[in-house]
Amino acid sequence: MKNLVIRNLCKTYFDPYAGTHVTAVSDVSLTVEQGEFVAIVGPSGCGKTTILNMVAGFLPPTSGEIILNDRPVKGPGPERGVVFQSFALFPWKTVLENVAFGPRMRGLPQAECEKTAREYLALAGLADAAERYPNELSGGMQQRVGVVRALANNPEVLLMDEPFASVDAQTRMTLQEELTRIWQERRPTIIFITHDVGEAVFLANRVVVLSKGAVLKELAVPLPRPRVWDVLIEDAAFKALSAQVLQLVRSA
């Protein structure tokens, strides 16, 4: 069974301003099965982004292990795709070139890279924007490009770091619905970081609540799919679950 195992993960670092060592993550253990959609929520500074950065390989853990499909994680790589809050699209490359970047890095022939890129752009409904530059697109469209750029590499796990925090509320709802649609079609494994409780419950199968660098509680989200905002916003189960998670987060 393919999975991502995080075991006793800790991260401390030296803060030059305070002159002391700060513990960002203390003893976090988590297992994510293939095809799961896990949302990690918590207040600012609870360590969720740090955990994501460690799984992505941008930061080395102070102690503990991160094991993907029985192999330990060392440094960034295409099997762990990342979607950034700031989109991080290369401004000097067209949308097509951005999405084709990953396949190109893997050494695939030009024609195949382009074909793959167009396929994924179509998945996101952006086939027409292929020749445009990122700065010509709206925030919502840019982030869609960001998502399919990571997906074009067929990653084992997709790491999303508050990806919709920089877009307006309406666009955010559209993007969330888009994301669940893409997930249902392709079933990637997703770890989604957010501080928005409603977003977490809407998107995920499982919600992990973090507090001060440690796991507070994990909750399953048994709501049926496909999930649509118009329906869920009135749904009693959704509201109850959101309230429960919110209370946990606020008490953290």
């Binding site: 960034p76 000097w92 530059y133």
Partner: protein
């Protein structure tokens, strides 16, 4: 940027040609004005020459090959100094800029030297290299080197970490990271640096050629002064003006515009 090009409304079939004409027209008008003033006020040729005198002198320098010799010497020095400077300063700037700690520490140093770059080095250059090619090329090298190194350093250090992380997680190795992310990301700053550095270098060239050598455009002007040959001086000034306009407006400014505006990045030192 600077050239006010006519907008789509009145454009005939050759927009570039039209823009060039619009640019040249006021200058031609000035030429006319010059001729009229000199003739009607009876200005002494030793004070300010007439258009024909300048044209005649210019023609003479072209025919006897002195113009080609001087321009050649000047441009050769610029070419050597500039290419050497860019070849060293860009890699250096990239290497320094990649580490946040190193770039924070070294930025003030490079800013200091970039601020001093160019003409201020003429006295010491002539001491170290004697008069001639060495000193002048050094001044040019110096001007371009420090300004480009500083701007490259700045440009690389300002590439958002998220872009570098994105490239890493998409599988970019060292070389790809450099050519696909770092260099394009810093390119606007590098080009700005080259433009500014070359501006200082050009001024340095003319000044140094007046002081420290016996061939080159600056020297041509200075020599003519000794003989009160104002028509050669004015011709030389026009040549210098045209050369710099060609270099700056046809080469550097479009390059800067293309990288910064096309990619929507605004990042200035």
């Amino acid at each position: 940027m600077g050239d006010s090009v006519a907008t789509a409304a009145a454009l005939p079939r050759f927009p570039r040609l039209w823009a060039a004409l619009k640019f040249v027209a006021p200058l031609l008008f000035l030429l006319l004005l010059w001729e009229v003033v000199v003739k009607s006020f009876g200005v002494e040729p030793r004070i300010f020459p007439s258009v024909e005198a300048v044209a005649a002198a210019g023609l003479e320098t072209m025919q006897d090959g002195t113009l080609v010799r001087h321009i050649g010497a000047s441009l050769w020095r610029v070419a050597v100094g500039t290419s050497l400077a860019i070849a060293i300063s860009v890699p250096l700037g990239v290497a320094m800029g990649l580490s946040p700690a190193v770039s924070i520490f070294l930025t003030p140093l490079f800013r200091f030297f970039s601020v001093l770059a160019g003409i201020a080095w003429i006295p010491i250059a002539t001491l170290w290299f004697g008069y001639g090619f060495g000193a002048i090329t050094f001044v040019i090298f110096n001007a371009v080197f420090f300004v480009v190194a500083y701007n490259t350093l700045l440009g690389v250090s300002r590439i958002p970490m998220a872009l570098r992380q994105a490239a890493a997680s998409l599988g970019a190795g060292g070389w790809s990271m450099l050519t696909q992310v770092i260099l394009p990301g810093a390119l606007p700053n590098i080009v700005t640096g080259v433009r500014t550095g070359l501006g200082f270098a050009w001024r340095g060239l003319i000044a140094a050629e007046m002081i420290a050598t016996n061939v080159g455009l600056g020297y041509m002007l200075f020599l003519a002064r000794d003989f009160y040959r104002t028509e050669v001086i004015v011709f030389g000034m026009i040549v210098i003006g045209i050369l710099w306009l060609l270099i700056d407006r046809l080469l550097l400014a479009p390059l800067e515009r293309a990288t910064i505006e096309r990619w929507g990045m605004v990042d200035r030192a």
